[in-house]
């Protein structure tokens, strides 16, 4: 427990936040877990929620290209003097006050939603007077966050299914969506381009600079319109593999006798081919033809595939 930590005995995170609201507490509530996150409080009101599960206000502004990296760095330098980055951004004219309020609000609600997608771990309450970089002012009533998070979860459950499962699902473009003949909103086209079967909704949100909930809602809608196909439904496997489903054509080399052995000081048989396979797996676009020496020995291929994924 860090210095200044305050022990709390609340039943869960919402109960803790309501207690802290009554006390008018200012500081941080750090919740461990996957993804977990940090809730910033000012007089018991929530001023920001940072969670690795969804883009922060800074990421939303930069990745969506509302603000350039150069403008951000310049404003950050000015804002570091008095700790008010929001004022520096507005004063520099790179973002309007209304736009910044909207982005900060959206990030806080998305942070709460992202934290609700998995069971929380341990939590730590730390008294602190330091404000977040981009706060919501005045802060949000905790009950407002609970109600909105419950609404989001109920909506996704109605449209698609369990939100936690949707957050882990990777989507591919469906054949019906190909060709660009269909008329659809621009954000659907962006999602189709990002739906490679390797990105979770969180990854797509970070890539496009969009909130997790909005991405998940759009993916659910596109799935219902058959524009996307869930990865699990395509392969039936929990871990996607880039290995070919059928043996390579042509007569395989006879594998007779014992398996090849590695001799110290000499490259193992098939070692060069295995290096090529690993590099191709990372890029993951071209079909892979396995070397003959591996065709009767599938486990090493699967092993390499799993290791190469982040």
């Amino acid at each position: 427990m860090t210095e200044g930590s305050v022990p709390r005995a609340a039943r869960n995170v919402p109960a803790l936040l309501l207690t802290l609201r009554q006390e008018g507490f200012s500081g941080l509530v750090t919740v461990s877990g996957s993804p977990g996150g940090t809730i910033h409080l000012e007089r018991g009101l929530v001023t920001a929620i940072d969670s690795p599960g969804t883009p922060s206000a800074e990421t939303l502004l930069l990745r969506s290209r509302r603000i350039s990296e150069a403008d951000w760095s310049a404003a950050a330098t000015v804002g570091a003097a008095d700790g008010r980055l929001d004022r520096a951004l507005i004063a520099a004219g790179v973002v309007s006050a209304a736009e910044l309020e909207i982005v900060c609000l959206a990030a806080a609600f998305d942070g709460a939603f992202a934290m609700s997608l998995s069971p929380p771990g341990s939590r730590e309450v730390t008294a602190s007077a330091a404000a977040p970089q981009l706060p919501v002012r005045p802060g949000l009533e905790p009950q407002l966050l609970f109600d909105e998070t419950a609404r989001r979860r109920a909506l996704l459950t109605r449209l698609w299914g369990p939100p936690g499962e949707l957050a882990r699902t990777r989507f591919h473009c469906s054949p019906e969506a190909g060709g660009g003949a269909l008329r659809m909103p621009r954000r659907y086209r962006d999602l189709l381009a990002a739906a490679t079967g390797r990105n979770t909704p969180r990854d797509i949100g970070f890539g496009l600079g969009r909130g997790l909930f909005a991405v998940m809602l759009d993916l659910a809608g596109m799935d219902a319109r058959r524009l996307l196909v869930p990865e699990a439904a395509r392969s039936g496997d929990a871990a996607p593999s880039v290995a070919p489903r059928t043996p390579p054509t042509g007569a395989p080399a006879p594998v007779a006798g014992p398996l090849p052995r590695r001799t110290p000081g000499r490259p193992a048989p098939g070692a060069r081919a295995a290096t090529t396979l690993r590099g191709t797996t990372l890029r993951g676009t071209r079909p892979i033809t396995l070397p003959a020496v591996n065709t009767a020995d599938e486990p090493p291929v699967a092993h390499r595939t799993e290791k190469s994924r982040p």
Partner: protein
Amino acid sequence: MRTLDTSLSDVLASPGTIGVLLVDAVSGLTYAAAGDRTAVGSGEALSELAELVADGLHQAGADGELESIVVTGRRRHHIVQVVPRQGDPLLLAVVVDRERTNLALAMRETATHAENLLA
């Protein structure tokens, strides 16, 4: 007072305006409200309405993005104006009293407010 609250108060100051809501067009999150909030409806309902209309228009062969939805009633008119921006669009929903408002003028004013909202 927040900038958004000030902006929506300006919208509410137009003659005959009963309620105003600023909503995320995708997530349905309400960012700000002014006046009679219940007359405008919930943010989720507004975003679903906009999605339904836009989807229907696309299926009917329309190109481009939705601009506004106008629903006229015997007592009130509902104007939902899309606020385009870098990122997911917003909806500026305005309910006006039919007796005290010229619909064409209200639509024009709402569009102007939407243009200036994020400026």
